[in-house]
């Protein structure tokens, strides 16, 4: 250990920094001189072995060398850093970015989600039931007697005479009411099947959301209020709504709800068959016969039920004119939503 060693290190450092051009070389310098095993550390190690006479002097020189190297290193590093930042600001920002894929729920799921969100906000629970149903739950308990023309309203896929693919989500009403006592406030989304020829307007299966509210003072006026409120939240305020009488075996009175035609705004066009209206859902007050099947007292309780097709709803909302696109699962369709 001597002044010479110190001078050599100093000279070496002065020389090394002349060639430093980038951050990697700066790091090399740090490791060579300033790290735990670097040259300065070595010199300090050797200082321990120096004679007591030399020690103060050498210590002083060494300290000043360390300060000098540290100072120069810091200023060199910040210089290089700002230079490389300047360089970085020159990269071609117009090159394409690296995109990450977010998938998507099927448009029917998205539509159902919207409907669910609204009804959950109105205090409804969500129940599901099986698609392979008994004739009893799908028809009989819903007041469709065997051999009745009302059954013609729904072309049915049978498994055998007792089991079938449900033609509507209404059997879930029976399941819910068999399970629990009023008040019942549920929506029941699900898949249903109809034995109809596949075309742009109809498919062998589709999706429905059924609703049911049973309590002691449920009225037709409340049914209207609730459904209009739903429709305003879902379709917006720019439409008019109307209720007209219809027939479902499991509701009495029964109604269908119409919305002013999306295309012609009520003027009459081909889509609405010149009526200016489009049907959006069926509804009514629960028929007392249904209450009898599930052992509810029809004198004490009243209730309403409603059901809407999700495909139809989505087709109206997004201007889709062929129901089959929902089930083709073409990625060019799926990626649009």
């Amino acid at each position: 250990m001597s002044e010479v060693n110190i001078d050599n290190v100093k000279a070496g450092f002065e020389k090394d920094i002349l060639t430093v051009k980038d951050l990697r070389q700066i790091e090399d310098i740090r490791i060579k001189y300033l790290s735990r095993n670097g040259l300065l550390a070595k010199l300090f190690d050797e200082l321990k072995n120096a004679s007591p006479d030399e020690k103060p002097m050498l210590g002083k020189s060494l300290n000043s060398l360390r300060n000098e190297i540290t100072e120069k290193f810091v200023s060199l590093k910040s210089g290089i850093e700002s230079a490389s930042q300047k360089l970085a600001s020159k990269i071609d920002l117009s090159l394409p970015g690296v995109e990450r894929t977010i998938g998507s729920k099927h448009l029917l799921t998205q539509t159902l989600d919207e409907i669910k969100t609204i009804f959950k906000g109105l205090g409804f629970s969500v129940f599901e039931g099986p698609e392979l149903e008994s004739d009893y739950n799908n028809f009989e308990a819903l007041n469709f007697p065997f051999d009745h023309p009302a059954r013609d309203m729904q072309d049915t896929y049978f498994i055998n005479k007792d089991f079938l693919l449900r033609t509507h989500t209404s059997p879930v009403q029976i399941r819910v009411m068999t399970e629990q006592k009023p008040p019942v406030r549920v929506i029941m989304p699900g898949r249903v099947y109809r034995n109809e020829a596949v075309s742009s307007r109809s498919y062998c299966m589709f999706h429905q959301v059924e609703g049911l509210y049973v309590d002691t003072d449920v009225t037709f006026a409340e049914l209207k209020g609730t459904l209009v409120s739903f429709a305003r939240l879902f379709y917006g305020d720019d439409f008019k709504y109307r209720f007209r009488p219809s027939f479902f075996p499991f509701t009495e009175p029964s109604a269908e709800m119409d919305i002013t035609c999306f295309l012609c705004h009520g003027e009459g066009c081909k889509v609405c068959k010149q009526t200016g209206w489009l049907e959006i859902l069926g509804c009514g007050m629960v028929d007392p016969n249904v209450f009898k099947y599930v052992n509810y007292d029809p004198e004490k309780y009243t209730g309403y039920a409603f059901g809407m097709g999700i495909e139809r709803t989505a087709m109206l909302k997004y201007g889709i004119d062929d129901i089959r696109v929902f089930f083709d699962n073409d990625l060019r369709f799926l990626k649009q939503f």
Partner: protein, 802 residues
């Protein structure tokens, strides 16, 4: 059902009511007008034209150049019809009018170089019939220039009304008119019966015996003698053609007319062809065959209600008459049948024959048992008037048990309770009376009605409330803007599946919804398929047993469409028969499960300026599955089992199990399977039973404080025999390390010549830490050295590098 407004006006006065209001009110009272044609509107621009001259077109053989006079002016018109001649009165479409067929507007045109200002029309072009053989040639006495709406009585409104199955009474003009009478509070005028009967007694000409009174509760008949079968008069033909019927002869036309008037299907028999001049109504006892009016031989099942004469069957009751007793041009004497049949019996027969007629449609929905005689008399009267026949006096009417009117009470308070709105009591009573109900008892709170037998749908108080509501108008019941709901638990069965959907989309998967109805081949790939009894086609004859076949079909379609890089998922129900058969008697005989499938195929990254193209592999699938499981807190609950080639679907695969129950499996699909779907690229998929996943109990999530003390990290690499599996080593290290060894992960894996044959190198990173303190170098180093020794020994592995 097609309904003519002019016809309705025969029974109810609608003089001062606008067509638009009538149509709207019908719809708003439950008789939905699906479509309507207002002839006054459609034909307003068409006028009577007079063909003054006809010359050959200079440039076309088949065209004529006509001069048509419209009364005001003379126009040159090109006509292509072969039957156009000078001197005819024709329907002329002036410039600006719109031809109903094809909905095109007439403009000034040049046809083969000659100008034409208008068009001479055929019935087909005017949509009056499908006759397009030539132009309509009209009565010479009509005045040119007159509008055809007046001249040809094209001033009706034809409505297509959808009649719901409960409203059998509305399957007639009188039925619709009755509703209109109630809506507009007007009188309903039933046509009066005015029979001039001869001295000849019906009993001397025919007799009737009903053997099956259960299926034929009433059979009424009238006899008309000495009829002349001929063309019907214009008014009758017009009535029928307006609603889309083809006139046949005066007898058949009257029976049709009365059916559309009253809703009672009638049948006219040639009395002289009825063996023994006798009608016997009975059900068949064995399989037999019968030739109906349409000359088709039909196979009849036992229990089919038949109309027979003294010798043979002559009609399938309520469905269709027989060829052997139909009215012909030489028919002289007729028997008019007007019956009430049991709806289920007719429905059964119609279904078994696959034959739905206007008659069977009405009978299976209920025809008024107390209206048979009225309709028979109405028909007899009209037939006598139009055919010169004479009506035998009296009628034959077999009606052993009279169907009585039902009594139904109505409590005013109940109306308000159900509708949420008060309708004046008098208004309610007025509506029900207009609909044909009669008051039989009245008090402050309640009123009892007797319901006519043409309304079988009105049995209970609630049915009357619906009648009141629909005639009063649903729109007049207020839409309330405030509701009160009971507070209580809320349940969402779909919440779990919705969470999975959300995570799956976050991982870049798109959701598909496939048709659960599949071909035998697709449904037969996995599981125990269930067949449909009445499939629409072979492609959709079975229920899916798994989500895999549907997903592969979707992949194949997408590849064909050029979308080769696919990440898809689906949540849907699958069905499996339990007994290995489709003999399903109860819910125990099959399973229906909600399943979840993830599928990956093609590239995960495309070649770009920054990256190379990379294809998805098994580890992408496995990673995605584990990411989802982590989000639903099942990553530490489920364990994996791995398989090579022990499966008909997968080349290699893995299961997810909870204890020993498999809740999901998947892997790389075999080439042979892909070939069946015409897929040429590798496909990886994994299917869960979502119901099983959902039923696994997991602890509620708790906050874990982020680590406050530093981790100690150690690395080591070993050379193993090639068959040693990562999973085994990883588990061994974790198990053998001391309690503070928290993570063991693989950071490098390779094989090379330098390592030797059948050798591989695996390098691990070990993380030691404690939530409570900083670990000392000594304790970590000690464990690390122990592990090196243990791994070397256990796997006969050689430590590398150090």
């Amino acid at each position: 059902m097609k309904v003519s407004l002019n016809w309705l006006k025969d029974y109810v006065d609608l003089k001062n009511i606008k067509t638009k209001d009538i149509v709207e009110q019908l719809t708003m009272s439950g008789l939905e007008v699906e479509e309507f044609t207002d002839e006054n509107e459609v034909y307003k621009d068409f006028i009577i034209g007079f063909v003054k001259e006809k010359n050959k077109h200079p440039n076309a053989d088949k065209l004529s150049v006509c001069t048509v006079s419209t009364g005001k002016e003379e126009l040159q018109v090109i006509c292509g019809a072969p039957n156009v001649e000078a001197g005819q009165k024709v329907v002329f479409a002036p410039i600006g009018s719109v031809i109903p067929k094809g909905n095109f507007k007439i403009g000034k045109a040049k046809i083969r170089g000659v100008e034409s200002s208008g068009m001479i029309c055929s019935e087909d072009e005017l949509e009056l019939s499908d006759d397009h053989t030539g132009i309509m040639v009209l009565d010479k006495d009509l005045t040119a220039g007159q509008s055809i709406t007046g001249a040809l009585l094209l001033n009706d409104v034809i409505m297509e009304i959808a009649i719901t199955p409960n409203r059998s009474d509305a399957l007639s003009h009188l039925g619709v008119a009755r509703d209109l009478a109630a809506m507009f509070n007007a009188e309903l005028n039933l046509p009066a019966i005015n029979l001039s009967e001869s001295s000849k007694k019906i009993k001397d000409f025919a007799s009737i015996e009903v053997k099956d009174t259960e299926n034929c509760p009433r059979y009424s008949a009238k006899v008309v003698l000495n009829v002349e079968v001929k063309e019907s008069p214009e008014w009758l033909k017009k009535k029928l053609t307006k609603i889309g019927l083809r006139p046949i002869n005066n007898i058949v036309d009257v029976t049709n007319f009365v059916m559309y008037e009253t809703g009672q299907p009638l049948h006219a028999f040639d009395l002289d062809n009825l063996g023994g001049n006798k009608i016997i109504v009975k059900s068949t006892e064995e399989v037999s065959s019968f030739t109906t009016l349409d000359s088709k031989e039909r196979k009849l099942q036992p229990g089919t209600l038949m109309i027979c004469d003294g010798e043979k069957p002559v009609a399938v009751a309520g469905v269709m008459g027989g060829e052997n007793s139909e009215i012909t041009n030489s028919t002289k004497n007729i028997l008019i049948e007007s019956a009430h049949f049991n709806p289920s019996s007719i429905r059964r027969t119609a279904r078994s024959l696959g034959l739905s007629t206007e008659a069977s449609y009405r009978f299976e929905r209920w025809v008024d048992p107390n209206g048979t005689l009225y309709s028979a008399e109405r028909a007899a009267q009209l037939i006598a008037e139009l055919s010169g026949g004479i009506i035998a006096s009296g009628s034959i009417d077999v009606y052993p048990d009279t169907v009585k009117q039902k009594e139904v009470p109505l409590r005013f308070a109940r109306v308000k309770k159900l509708l949420g709105y008060e309708i004046p009591d008098e208004k309610m009573v007025e509506i029900l009376k207009r609909l044909g109900l009669q008051v039989i008892f009245e008090s402050d709170k309640e009123i009892r009605f007797s319901v006519p037998t043409f309304r079988p749908d009105l049995e209970r108080e609630v049915d009357l409330i619906e009648e009141i509501a629909r005639i009063y108008g649903y729109n007049n019941i207020p839409t309330i803007s405030k509701i009160s709901i009971s507070l209580g638990g809320r349940i969402d069965h779909s919440e779990f599946a919705d969470r999975i959907r959300q995570y799956a989309t976050g991982l870049g998967f798109y959701e598909m919804i496939n048709n659960p109805l599949q071909s035998e081949k697709a449904a037969g790939l996995i599981g125990e398929k269930i067949a449909l009894l009445n499939p629409q086609s072979l492609d959709m004859a079975y229920l899916r047993t798994s989500l895999i076949p549907g997903a592969l079909l979707t992949v194949a379609k997408n590849i064909n469409a050029g979308e080769k890089n696919v990440a898809l998922f689906e949540i849907g129900n699958v069905f499996n028969s339990r007994a290995g058969s489709s003999e399903i008697r109860s819910f125990e005989d099959f399973t229906e499960n909600q399943n979840l499938i993830f599928l990956l195929t093609g590239k995960k990254t495309e070649k770009t300026w920054l990256s190379d193209e990379k294809f998805v592999d098994f580890y992408d699938l496995k990673g995605a599955i584990n990411s989802i499981l982590f989000k639903i807190s099942l990553d530490n609950v489920l364990n994996d089992s791995y398989y090579h080639g022990e499966n008909t679907i997968f080349d290699f695969s893995f299961d997810k199990k909870v204890e020993n129950t498999v809740v999901g499996s998947g892997g790389k699909i075999k080439k042979e399977v892909l070939k069946q779907f015409d897929i040429q690229q590798d496909v990886y998929c994994f299917e869960f039973n979502l119901d099983s996943l959902k039923s696994i109990k997991t602890a509620a999530k708790k906050y874990a404080e982020p680590l406050k003390f530093p981790k100690s990290i150690r690395d080591f690499a070993f050379v193993f025999d090639k068959e040693v599996e990562y999973g085994e080593v990883q588990r061994f290290i974790k198990k053998s390390g001391y309690g503070l060894l928290k993570e063991v992960s693989l950071f490098d894996l390779f094989e090379s010549e330098a390592l030797g044959e059948n050798k591989k190198s695996m390098a691990f990173t070990l993380e030691y830490y404690s939530p409570d303190r900083t670990l000392t170098e000594e304790e970590v180093e000690k464990d690390f050295l122990n592990l090196i020794e243990a791994v070397s020994k256990k796997f006969n592995a050689k430590l590398r590098g150090k």
